[in-house]
Amino acid sequence: MRRWGPWIALGVVVAVALAVVLWPNGEQSPAARAHELETQLKCPECQGLSVADSQAPTSRAIRTDIKRRVAAGQSDEEIRQSYIDRYGDSILLAPEDSGVSLLVWILPVVVLALGATGIVFALRRNREEPHLHPTDADERLVERSRADG
């Protein structure tokens, strides 16, 4: 028990920290919601930057529009959908998790799982091969050493 004591205490400390962070603390502020949405939309006139990061005029217009919509009470999903309706799917910086887009989220998990499984199997296989049956070479070795005395 003494060996584990300090580790259990450490576990408690970490759990407390995690609990504080993960505790549901109510709604996001409108500013935070707007910022979150801004990071999810791509600036239409840039190459790959989000609306939150870009200084282009269209981005700034979209930022203003998002703030207006959040203040008007639209939900995140509604706001995203209104942009998809106008600009197409490619305005979203992270693919939705439906249809073909699901692949991009699932494949890495599958690959990592396969890799981990492969490693575990390799470890197991390595360990399950104790040579319990003497081979001919072993027998001869024993004979020779007996003969040597």
Partner: protein, 180 residues
């Protein structure tokens, strides 16, 4: 498994071949052009209701039943200045057509600067002001200049981001008329 290396190598080869095919199909793309295809082509044109520079308002309903060219621009963007002569020429050629209307929508600019530009360059077509970028976002613009062709029935027939040439303007008008 007797030959794990071979099996894994085969799986990797498969993935590499798929990747290679996908890449090969896309060689020679112009990604900038692809990114600028408008999503609105073939759909109903968004409604707009904006102040008219000459007073009053301009609405989508005002151009119903006519082939409309909508041009987003402002007075300080350099490509807009590049396409200005083509626009002038095009408007002069068609302004008397009964089924044709041209509307310029100004974004990111001040009324004073727009008025000065219109006066200096004798811009003859309707100019609407969009300081809040409402129409710009409704039309899913990507910047300026951006031009849309709207059919008499209210469908977006064609769209382009970038300065227009005379030939392109003519083909936009033809597309708008053809869409019905």
């Amino acid at each position: 498994m007797k030959h794990p290396a071979r099996v894994v190598a085969l799986a990797v080869a498969l993935v590499v071949v798929v990747l290679g095919v996908v890449l090969a199909l896309n060689v020679g793309n112009d990604p900038e052009q692809d990114a600028k295809q408008s999503h609105l082509v073939g759909k109903a044109a968004p409604d707009f209701d904006l102040p008219n520079l000459a007073g009053g308002r301009v609405k989508l309903a005002d151009v119903a039943g006519k082939a409309t060219i909508v041009n987003f621009w402002n007075s300080w963007c350099i490509p807009c200045q590049q396409e200005a002569p083509a626009l002038q020429q095009f408007f002069a050629a068609h302004k008397d057509d009964s089924d044709f209307v041209m509307v310029g929508i100004v974004r990111d600019d001040t009324t004073g600067d727009v008025r000065a530009y219109v006066k200096k360059n004798q811009v003859g077509w309707t100019i609407a002001l969009d300081p809040e970028n409402v129409a710009a976002l409704d039309f899913a613009t990507r910047g300026q200049p951006e031009t849309y062709a709207i059919s008499p029935g209210g469908l977006v027939a064609a769209a382009k981001y970038g300065p227009m040439s005379s030939t392109e303007l003519e083909s936009f008008l033809a597309a708008a008329r053809a869409s019905g």
